[in-house]
Point group: C2
Chain length 215, copies 2
C-alpha cells in the first residue's frame, strides 16, 4: 500500500490530540474519573461532535450517559501518538532556538529524547548545553548509523538548511523536524515536518490588523 507522503488526511485531528491530552491529565490529577465530550468541548472551545470523532480515531469507546473513563482516554491518546514509546533524536544547529529546544521539558514526557546536538561552530563543539553534548557536524553520519537514529531536529540558519538536510538524509535520517524557513528537497523516503514560526506570525499580523481596523 503506497501512501502519499503529502497526505494530510487526519492531520487536523492529530494536531488536536495533544490539547485533549493536556486537559485530561489535568482532570486526572484532580481525581476526576469520567468526562463527557460536551465537557471537553466547553473547556477547549470545540464542538462536542468533533471531540467524539477525534477521540474515536484513537480507538477509545465511551459509555452513553457516563462519558469516557479518563485514565483509559489518556492511555489511548498516548498510545495512538506513540508518546508512550521512547524515540531518540539528534538536534542540529545550536543557536538560540536550538538551545531553547534542548531545554524544552515537554519533549521528554512525549517520548522524544534528544541524545546529542551538532554544530559547526568550534566555540560550541565540546560544550554541554542543558545536559546535551554538542558535537561536530562531521560526526553525525557515523553516530546516526551506530546509534540507529532516524529523527533530526533542524535548527540551523536558513542558508545552511538544505546542505545540512542532505547530510542528514545520507546519514539515514528518515524524518526531519524543520524549524528553518527553507523548503527542503528530500527523497520520497524521507518526510519533513515544517514548523514555521513565520506562518503563525502571518496569521497573527492579518488578524491583528483586522481587529484594530474594524472596531
Amino acid at each position: 500500500m503506497i501512501e502519499d507522503k503529502n497526505s494530510l488526511s487526519g492531520l487536523p485531528t492529530v494536531r488536536r490530540l495533544p490539547m485533549y491530552l493536556h486537559l485530561l491529565k489535568e482532570l486526572n490529577s484532580q481525581g476526576r474519573e469520567f468526562v463527557s465530550s460536551t465537557h471537553i468541548g466547553e473547556k477547549l472551545g470545540l464542538d462536542s461532535v468533533q471531540v467524539r470523532k477525534d477521540l474515536a480515531s484513537t480507538g477509545i469507546v465511551g459509555k452513553p450517559k457516563i462519558g469516557f473513563y479518563v485514565p483509559a482516554l489518556i492511555g489511548a491518546i498516548e498510545s495512538y501518538l506513540g508518546w508512550d514509546n521512547s524515540k531518540d533524536a539528534f538536534l542540529i544547529g545550536v543557536g538560540s532556538l536550538g538551545s531553547a529546544l534542548l531545554g524544552y521539558a515537554g519533549f521528554e514526557k512525549r517520548g522524544l529524547n534528544i541524545i546529542a546536538a551538532f554544530d559547526n561552530d568550534p566555540d560550541k563543539v565540546g560544550k554541554i548545553i542543558r545536559g546535551v553534548e554538542v558535537l561536530s557536524l562531521d560526526k553525525l553520519p557515523d553516530l546516526a548509523e551506530r546509534m540507529n537514529i532516524h529523527l533530526g531536529i533542524l535548527t540551523v540558519p536558513g542558508e545552511y538548511a538544505q546542505v545540512t538536510a542532505d547530510v542528514m538524509v545520507l546519514a539515514g535520517i528518515r524524518g526531519i523536524w524543520n524549524f528553518t524557513q527553507t523548503y527542503l528537497q528530500v527523497p520520497e523516503s524521507v518526510f519533513v515536518q515544517d514548523e514555521d514560526l513565520a506562518a503563525g506570525l502571518a496569521v497573527l499580523s492579518v488578524r491583528l490588523a483586522r481587529a484594530l481596523n474594524q472596531e
Copy 2:
C-alpha cells in the same frame, strides 16, 4: 459587519505567504526580475494554480507569458501581511522559550518589535536579555496603556497561562500569541493565536511511526 473570531477562511493561504516571501527575497537578491507561478511551485512543492490563487489574494497581477515582477510581488505580500508596518509587542514569561524568542531576528524584519519583557521572578526582573529589559509583571497594565500596546506574546509556564492572560486582557491587550499548552478563555474582542509545539510533535510522531513500520 460581525466577523466570527474563529473564522479560518483564507488562513491556509496566509500561512503560505511567508514561504513565498522567503523564496522571492532570495530570487531578488540573485537579481532575478520575473518569476512564474510554475517556478515558485516547483521550488516550494506546490501546485502552480495554488500559487497563483495565493498570490492573487494579495492583489498582485501577473503578466501572461512573463510571470510576476519579483520586487512588486515582495511588496504586495509584505503589505498584505502588514510586515511593512511596525507593531509593538510585549513578551510575558522569560523562561527558555521566551528568552529564545527575544533573540529571534526574524521578528524585526517582519515588523514585530518586542519592546519589553515581563516576569514574576525577582531574579530576572531588572536584567536585560538580548537587549530587552525584563520588568515586573505588576507594571504591565500601566505600561500597556501608556505605550498603547495591543499585542502580547505569552510564554509563561502553562499553569499561569490563564491568570496571566486575564491580566493582559484587563490591560487592553487585543491579541495574544499563545505559546503555552493552555486553551485560553478570553472575551470575544480579544483573539488568541495558538502556537503549539506539541501539535507539530504529534504529527511528527504519527508520521514517523508510519514511516518506520510500513517499510
